[in-house]
């Protein structure tokens, strides 16, 4: 099938195309130089054309997401998705799988990464991926509290740790190294937490600093497409900005050496909004977003995603078990907690970010400040779905960024005055243009994930994942911006038109992407002996039943990396 997208205003940051009127040709699922006269014409006049959206951090599938669904029927009833010819779905903040896929697609997104996959329960994540339509998917297994990782790093055996990481990524069909509250979730198994970068983990006697730095070295030794993806210690605690900066600094000097992709950073700080808090308690709570943004701007190795608060009633879920317990004690709402054997843990708590709450207003402002002050090549748009807000609010975040007027309408009329008093969001006149929006929603993400060869751009050879929005580039009306980005005019996925005028017109199932790194055989055999020993002694499952088998995807896409020089 051939298409030609005519007369659209194209924004393609990876190829430096900034608002040029040009035609895009599509043939056999790829973007090509030209097409025949038989190509179907898609009229994009007065529309904006961008690469398909890429979300590098979203909790869309797996065990804890499902806990959220199960224990919040009152969230399910709030939003019911029933359109003719499509699978029905429910849930506002934790939507069911089909609804998730459809709604991402309606917004022009074509690739989403699940942010936290407990290795032992990887199957559950992949099972939900199979039932999540419209988008390509990948999942990041959790490493930051893994016994094997902590033991190898304690011994200083980086190579063995690298081999173990390679084995686990392949066994769980994972995509990158995710680190959540390094050491803290393991400490939670003892009813404790770690509170700084040098606070040792009980029993293992290793510090978060050693875990983060060690895994960063492992990541670059293996040359993974994505960098380490870090949720640092002390999430959501006043005064945590110092921990955040220290963690960013602790991997200074580790250079990005991807064996696949074009990534330049070696450290990804996720939902940075939750990590940019000043003050010593909620009473003197204030924003330190500018300090964080300044460091990020001058540091070559760091990139951040924001985790923008959207001021909704939502469901928080993370592998940061102790943090969820703190949250439950703060808001008194129901709480689910889970320990995942030798690997990680998790917690789930509903949360209401009321615009009238002083602290929530500041959190909202901190997120916006990060967007407004960070170099737009180094910041990504997320809401840490659903932790800071559901992903269907991305269009609203875009509207806040593109229109100072709309932002001020919220700042002065809707949110608590602390947002003005304890942050500098009111002082910034910056308004994002569509080129910058394209960066923070697709180009930066594709690049930092190491997928920019075929994703996140519209150059010849790229996958034909294309979003077309009916919006005037000069539009400043917040509501109109929101509507345009919420319901794309057209979305193409792999060369098929899947959305037209905001409605799903074709149901397809994307690929599941994972990384298969080959390290030296002798080294792997040595490490496997340790792994087998751990399974025999501690795991509740047999090692042969652990790996995710071939049938757990509609279609796999493997990124093969040769790292046999590690031996």
């Amino acid at each position: 099938m051939e298409y030609i997208i005519k007369n659209g205003i194209v924004y393609d940051p990876l190829n430096g195309v900034n608002g040029e009127k040009m035609d895009i040709c599509v043939k056999d699922g790829k973007i090509v130089e030209s097409v025949s006269d038989n190509a179907k014409i898609i009229d994009a006049s007065n529309c904006v054309v961008m690469p398909g959206g890429v979300d590098s951090h979203s909790h869309l599938a797996g065990a804890k997401v499902n806990v959220g669904r199960i224990f919040r029927p009152e969230d399910s009833v709030k939003d019911i998705y029933a359109k003719k010819g499509l699978r029905t779905g429910t849930g506002f903040s934790v939507p069911s799988t089909y609804k998730t896929g459809y709604q991402y697609s309606e917004m022009g997104y074509t690739m989403v990464v699940e942010a936290a996959m407990p290795p032992l329960i990887a199957r559950h994540t992949h099972e939900e991926f199979i039932e999540t339509p419209q988008i390509d998917k990948a999942a990041m297994p959790l490493f930051g509290n893994n016994w094997m990782v902590m033991e190898y790093l304690k011994e200083g055996d980086i190579k063995a740790c690298a081999a173990y990481v390679a084995w686990l990524l392949k066994a769980t069909r994972g995509f990158a190294i995710k680190i959540v509250n390094p050491g803290g979730t393991e400490a939670w198994g003892w009813g404790k937490n770690v509170h700084s970068l040098d606070d040792p983990v009980p029993y293992f006697d290793i510090t978060p600093r050693e875990i983060v730095r060690g895994l960063a070295e492992v990541n670059e030794m293996l040359g993974l497409p994505h960098s380490i993806h870090v949720h640092p210690n002390n999430l959501g605690h006043p005064g945590n900005w110092e921990t955040t900066l220290e963690t960013m600094k602790c991997v200074e000097g580790i250079e990005a050496k991807p064996r696949y992709g074009e990534r330049e950073t070696s450290y990804y700080n996720t939902h940075c909004q939750f990590h940019s808090y000043g003050g010593t308690s909620w009473k003197d709570f204030e924003s330190k977003a500018i300090e964080i943004a300044e460091y990020v701007n001058k540091s070559k190795h760091v990139v951040i995603d924001v985790g923008q608060i959207t001021l909704d009633e939502t469901t928080t879920m993370t592998a940061d078990g102790p943090m969820e317990y703190d949250l439950h004690m703060t808001n008194g709402l129901k709480w689910a907690n889970c320990d995942v054997e030798l690997e990680t843990g998790s917690g789930v708590v509903p949360f209401i970010y009321s615009p009238k709450g002083p602290v929530y207003a500041v959190q909202w402002a901190i997120g916006l400040e990060l967007f407004l002050h960070t170099n737009t090549d180094k910041v990504l748009l997320t809401t840490d779905h659903p932790n800071a807000g559901p992903f269907i609010r991305y269009p609203r975040v875009i509207a806040w960024l593109m229109s100072k007027k709309y932002r001020d309408e919220w700042l002065y009329n809707k949110v608590h005055k602390w947002a003005q008093q304890r942050s500098h969001v009111a002082d910034s006149d910056k308004e994002y243009d569509l080129y910058e929006i394209a960066k923070i929603t697709r180009a930066n993400q594709a690049k930092v994930l190491g997928l920019s060869e075929t994703k996140g751009h519209l150059g010849v050879g790229a996958e034909a994942d294309i979003a077309i929005y009916a919006i005037d580039p000069e539009e400043k009306d917040g509501k109109k911006i929101e509507k345009a980005f919420r319901y794309a005019k057209y979305v193409l996925k792999g060369g098929d038109v899947v959305v037209k005028d905001g409605n799903i017109v074709k149901q397809i199932f994307g690929d599941t992407i994972y990384v298969d790194v080959q390290v030296g055989e002798d080294l792997m055999n040595e490490v496997l002996k340790d792994v087998e020993e751990k399974f025999r002694r501690y795991y509740s499952v047999n090692i042969d039943n652990y790996p995710v088998s071939d049938k757990y995807a509609n279609s796999w896409r493997v990124i093969k990396i040769d790292a046999t020089d590690i031996n």
Binding site: F71, E74, L333
Partner: protein, 273 residues
């Protein structure tokens, strides 16, 4: 104003959702439009005229819906209504008066579970008995009934007034286990007996029991005997006087500083203290 009389033509097996046939909707519709209203029945949709004999009259006063020959397969009767009156002749299914904001529902029969779920205002009178979760929150929610009045002349089932925040529930018969569980405001009055764990995890509000109580949870604190007390739920509250002599308890002390009040008849419970 209009009076709509619906007579169910025959017994049905698959339940029907009646939430579209409420006074504030029918007052603007003609007979034809009402007959063509689509109702959800299982996974299908049916027209009002296919299930019911429909009669529309002009009357004085507020709009009214009368459902004759009703049975417990009619769900969501009077759900979300804001004014007028719904009169049910016969039994009624689940969710009668769910989320209602105003007006009055009279059920001349028994009600199934979830009567007055998340009710916000108005009055729900059930002349027979009701099953579980009278005046409760939606499943999973911690924000329950926030106003209005529910009166059940017969018995009620388990977990009535779950997560209730405001309003009044008056059960004239007996109730099952965990009456007023997680209650956070409002008053529940029970004329008959209650089964175990009354007021479990309550934080605020009051429960009055005139009948027999086998035991009170150990996490409730005994305050003494009170005569003809006036229940005050907040400092500004003028108070609701009740008659009789009661043991007063405060709880549930599984929470910090709970304000839940439990009044239990002395006369019928000499064994308690």
């Amino acid at each position: 104003m209009k009076e709509l009389i619906l007579t169910l033509q025959k017994d049905i097996i698959v339940p029907v959702e009646m939430d579209k046939v409420i006074p504030n909707v029918i007052e603007n519709l003609s007979l034809e439009e009402i007959k063509n209203l689509e109702l959800v029945q299982g996974r299908k949709r049916v027209k009002v005229g296919d299930l019911f004999d429909v009669e529309l009259n002009e009357i004085e006063g507020e709009p009214r819906v009368v459902i004759k020959n009703s049975n417990n397969k009619l769900k969501y009767v009077g759900s979300k209504m804001t004014k007028g009156e719904v009169i049910v002749e016969g039994d009624v299914g689940m969710y009668v008066g769910a989320e209602m904001k105003g007006g009055k529902i009279i059920v001349n029969g028994n009600a199934d579970s979830w009567a007055g779920q998340n009710m916000k205002g108005g009055e729900l009178l059930i002349k027979g008995s009701a099953r579980d979760y009278v005046g409760s929150a939606y499943r999973g929610d911690w924000r329950g009934m926030s106003g209005g009045k529910i009166i059940v002349e017969g018995n009620a089932g388990n977990e009535i007034g779950e997560f209730m925040r405001k309003g009044l529930i008056h059960i004239k018969g007996n109730v099952g286990i965990m009456a007023g569980i997680h209650q956070n405001g409002g008053i529940i009055i029970i004329d008959g007996d209650v089964d175990v764990r009354v007021g479990g995890e309550m934080k605020a509000g009051a429960i009055v029991v005139y009948g027999k109580v086998d035991e009170v949870l150990p996490s409730f604190k005994y305050e003494g005997i009170v005569e003809n007390p006036v229940i005050k739920l907040s400092k500004k509250d003028e108070g609701t006087p009740i008659e009789g002599t009661f043991y007063k308890f405060i709880g549930d002390y599984v929470h910090n500083k709970p304000k839940g009040q439990l009044y239990i008849s002395v006369e019928n419970n000499p064994h308690l203290i």
